[in-house]
Symmetry: C2
Subunit: 181 residues, 2 copies
DNA sequence: GTATTATGTAATTGATCAATCAATAACATT
DNA sequence: AATGTTATTGATTGATCAATTACATAATAC
């Protein structure tokens, strides 16, 4: 569905509709990551932005829709990071791994969101997570293939596997799990 | 903490206190796995056992305590499975992998519980999950070391990583993620 | 300078649940 | 029968929240 709807993009940080949407989304990432999808309240999100709770519903139809948007933003960033890594074919996988570890530091909240969403049983969220996994798998596959790496699939799987362990390590705060990757 | 409290252990499947506890725990695994920790209600668990909702609280002080017990049961089984695998040193890791994939089929619900718990932000549950990861890591390390495998840590990490991807594949119902491991 | 739209809030509702409590039924033991 | 214990429930409460409604104010246009 729609997400790019910017008419007004003055340099000034005005409270335009689009800005608000962004602010809310950013607050949502933080609040959901901190409290988890179910315990997080729309009031918390509102408070963080400095608006009233009902006003959130001007921008997102439901709490679920808000969460899905936050989740998509996280997936977008992961895909973007992978697609932007520059390295020689021999070092590509390694560099992408490094970039991901970096991501778990700079945008931990978005990673936390992904791990949370993996465990959520609501069908729309499960679907979003399946889509997320597919998108990430696809970009990794495409990059490794373009780099001319043979027998791509096992490499991709191993790469994703490491990513999943990274995630858990980040979420649980257990860096020791990640050391020997 | 305490769990063995059996005075009456007739062959007969009476409604002894211990039996009830087990029944509730088993129901809880299923209900939590199906609905997720937060959406699952103690009433659902009770209904599944065929008892009243308040009666659940005779056996578990809080919903959280019930979830923690269910989670521990899941971890126990994983650890047990790994500790019981028999194979030559060269095939040990491979066989343990196979055993785990088998586990994700025979006791999917318990695996689902683990993935869910990874994303839950309540401190007692996070602690339980850290403990769970440590226990699993320890048993894998111990087995690989005992089998005389050199440079254990990287092997262990790679093994755990694959496990995490297995989990996600199982939870999201995406077997294709697991094929090329 | 009034109509209209965008930006916002306060107040409220309707539903859901975890948890408690007082009571009862069923079963042993003496 | 009297006494005690174990297993169990119905009724209720207290709190939390997503979502709605109805109202207010500021900006823009006409």
């Amino acid at each position: 569905m729609g997400e790019s709807d910017h008419k007004t993009l003055h340099a000034r940080a005005q409270h335009t509709s689009t800005n608000r949407r962004e602010e809310i989304l950013e607050a949502a990432v933080a609040v959901f990551a901190e409290s988890g999808y179910y315990r997080a309240t729309t009031a918390q999100v509102a408070e963080r932005v400095g608006i009233s709770q009902p006003y959130v519903y001007r921008f997102f139809e439901t709490k679920e829709a808000l969460f899905l948007a936050a989740l998509e933003r996280a997936t977008d960033r992961i895909v973007r990071v992978f697609s932007e890594v520059q390295a020689s074919p021999e070092q590509l996988a390694e560099e992408m791994g490094r970039a991901y570890v970096e991501l778990t530091r700079t945008h931990r909240n978005e990673i936390v969101l992904q791990v949370q969403a993996q465990g959520i049983r609501d069908e729309p969220i499960r679907q979003a997570m399946r889509s997320s996994m597919r998108r990430v798998k696809d970009v990794v596959t495409q990059r490794l293939m373009t780099a001319g790496i043979r027998n791509t699939q096992p490499q991709v799987s191993a790469f994703l596997a490491k990513g999943m362990l990274c995630n858990v390590a980040a979420v649980l705060g257990m860096p020791e799990l990640t050391e020997c990757l």
